[in-house]
């Protein structure tokens, strides 16, 4: 039986970089990313799995990093907003969010972009209704979601036809 403050070793890949990390067994994935790896683009809004601000990709699927322990990452690959951002400039999805002003305070934005990235990987040309369903687990207190939905629609429309098939 592992105690909460006992340390365990986690071997995982974060944003493409493999590594071994020693963490407390009770360390959440969100705290691990933010505090131990300095990846502060992942935000913590509720710590009970409702708001979606802390969404990251685990093996390509969206997951709430506040509800996972870092220890559960052993053998897995995590992608955060930092991993979705090109070295220079922005991704097409990020650019669409920027042009549509799909944020105000920007605190929900990284989680939104991660969630939409997972959606578009599964469904390249989602309907408006599907977009609204997909982001319904990500709370935004500023925008009323109008410009966020608009940004996703524009990002989809801007993709080459073969990417939307």
């Amino acid at each position: 039986m592992t105690t909460p403050s006992e340390r365990v070793t986690v071997r995982c890949t974060v944003n493409g970089r493999p590594g071994a990390h020693v963490v407390e067994a009770r360390r959440s994935l969100a705290d691990f990313l933010r505090e131990d790896l300095g990846l502060t683009g992942t935000h913590v809004g509720c710590e009970h799995g409702v708001c979606g601000a802390c969404t990251v990709l685990v093996d390509g699927r969206s997951a709430r990093s506040c509800l996972l322990f870092a220890a559960q990452l052993d053998g897995r690959a995590v992608t955060t907003i930092e991993g979705l951002t090109p070295a220079e400039g922005l991704s097409p999805l990020q650019e669409s969010f920027r042009v549509c002003h799909a944020m105000q305070c920007g605190f929900c934005t990284p989680g939104m972009i991660v969630t939409v990235t997972a959606l578009l990987a599964e469904e390249p040309a989602p309907s408006t209704e599907t977009i609204r369903e997909a982001i319904s687990g990500n709370l935004c207190m500023c925008t009323g979601y109008v410009n966020i939905v608009r940004a996703v629609e524009q990002a989809v429309a801007a993709r080459p036809a073969e990417a939307r098939a």
């Binding site: 407390e24 935000h43 913590v44 920027r98 944020m103 009323g144």
Partner: protein, 794 residues
Amino acid sequence: MSHEPGAGWVGRPVPLKEDARLVAGRGRFVDDLARPRMLHAAMLRSPHAHARIVAIDTREAAALPGVFAVLTGAEAAARSGPIRPLIPTTAAVPDYCLAVDRARYVGEPVAAVAAVDRATAEDALELIRVEYEALPAVVDPEAAIAPGATLLYPQLGTNVLWHDTLTYGPVDEALARADGVLRERFTIQRYASTPLETFGAIAEYDAGTDVFEFWTNDQRPGLTISVLAASLGVPQARVRLSCPDIGGGFGNKRRPAYLLTCALLARQSGRPVKWIEDRIENLTALMHACNGIMDVELAYRADGTVLALSVRDIADEGKNLITPAQHNLIKLGNIANGYRIPAVRYEAWSVLTNKCPSGANRGIGKPFMCFAIERAMALLARRLGLDPAELRQRNYVTAAQMPYTTPPGAQYDSGDYPATLRLALERFGYAARRNEQAAARNAGRLLGIGIATSVEPAGTNLASYEIVTGRRAASGSAEAAMVRMEPDGHVSVSLGDPPSGQGYETVLAQIVADELGLTPDAITVARGFDSTTTPWLYLSGNYSNKFSVTDVGAVVGAAARVRAKLLRIAAHRLEAAVADLELAGGAVAVRGAPDRRLGFAELARTAYADVLGLPPGEEPGLEARHAHQNSLAQPVDGDRRVRSQLVFSNAAHCCLVEVDPRTGLVKILKYLVVHDCGRELNPLIVEGMVHGATAHGIGAALLEEFRYDAQGQLLTSTFMDYLKPTSVDVPLIEVDRLEHPSPVTPLGAKGVGEGGAIPGPAAVANAVEDALAHLGVVVRSLPITPEQIWRWIR
């Protein structure tokens, strides 16, 4: 940006500078900051709504490895002064950063710990032994007023913080001679805008210089610095405070007590201390909008003309000793809404209960005031058999009557309220929707149409507090800004108002670009706030919808001073008259002689480095600070009239809802807003704010409620039971606009941040009632839950 510089950046939907970093997760929020050797704090909170604290034993917690400091209320009271209220109560009731001998709401902090990490600090909380003696809780504000009620502060002798009746005009005569009087009681729940980033701070104490330093997402730094300095017993010069990016505010992000607790822990431990509120702490204990009860009497003539309005308003403050009666006072600004009502009476009650402190929340009181008036207008239309739009048209203040002063003293500066509603009805397809509703009704579907219109006051006038306190402490409305051309000719701007999502880095760059003939790209606006570099006033902060009223003037004024100095230096260097010069493309040139020009970099070199080249007597450097005071703010007059707010936008909301009789669910099928916030400085920002504020209104109408049981336990303390609107609850909000510039702001802009949150609840409620009117349903309270609808239908 290929746009020609100088041709006018203000008014364009320029994409936001800050969005480029926010989409990449490169915002810098308070929890992203760290200090060397930093500790983390956690707070022990009262499980009782009302209890005497008999004893606290912290020895075991203090002995836990990794714990550096433990603080109780009694220790806090010995080491710091009480928190200075913005609106003082009649008798002083000292309120410290931690509860001392009595806890007065569930979640009130009674002790705090600083440890190597948050988990260790929380472990230590479990080792603190508190002996409570539970007291009866007073939860209902009417019970709190009743004789013999349990008192939160026995030394006050009452739970009532303010009770007064303000009468403007012949209200009783109008009630007596009216053709009819509509009397209704409306209530509103507790709710909050719950910014997605919770509150937080880092405090650090430098024992060598006796300086306290804070990093926080507090949205009103000017006031907070003065409160902190007073409680810590140091001059304000030894309190340094800065704000990074703020993840939403809406009025909620302010609690000096938490900053004080961190400061005391930092001084005690000798280490920086960070505290980040968790969501349960946020929902339980930060700040709720007052719940309340409003008895409304509306005297009318048979043709629908409103003759008088009388309101008895009970605001349930919870344990709010910082800003009691603020909700009441702010309602004086929109009590008449957009209507010509010749006589108004307002009976105000501000009442303490054993609940979370109330405080500023998007619109402060105005959403409830608008809800009551717009519900009353809907009921009056029904009573008189008039179309609700027609009834409003018969009562509006018209464009020809601007500026119009309401009986309590609010001055509506501009706008065309009848035209706003007309455009909304046209865009909504009002007549067609009525037909759609009738057809649906025949098919057994319950469709309803709701109209609500509103004024949206902006800026505050602290002189209005004199109505409550009888004396003037602070007054007016102002903000400070600095524009500086750096030695390399690049321009930087800073403002005493730290934004929390309003895009100031972009809109201020647009404003300064126009003043100096540059592009916004050439201007860097400082992120957030830093008391050592940002110009600021006691009044500085991100509140009261004040950007257009004071902030814009501060920036325009500072930029104009830099511009004037640039021209003076250029005139001297070019041996030309200032009147013959023009600014464009980052240079000053002699009009008609384009080869006689000096670039900004060259002029800046003169100002900072080659100072012998300056005109005689000209001060070196190229920066200007300016503070703008809005001239509309005036003291309370002899008839107790006051402009509690200053500049007025307006809006009309129309919505179409469908009620599902099987589930009680309300679906919003269409939502349209026509608004008028004067000149739109950046329409992209403006439209986003209209969307967001309207979504807050929808949340308050249908979902959100801090629900307390009779013992004062909060039943909705997570996002699983305190429900926020999601992307499937908020419809596509359609927005159209009129643009009547304000004559009393420098660029003609008016407030926009609160707008949708004010009429939103009323619009949705009117629509739901319209869908169910044939069942005799009257909506008197919010939120309208599926359970409530199910009961009405059964």
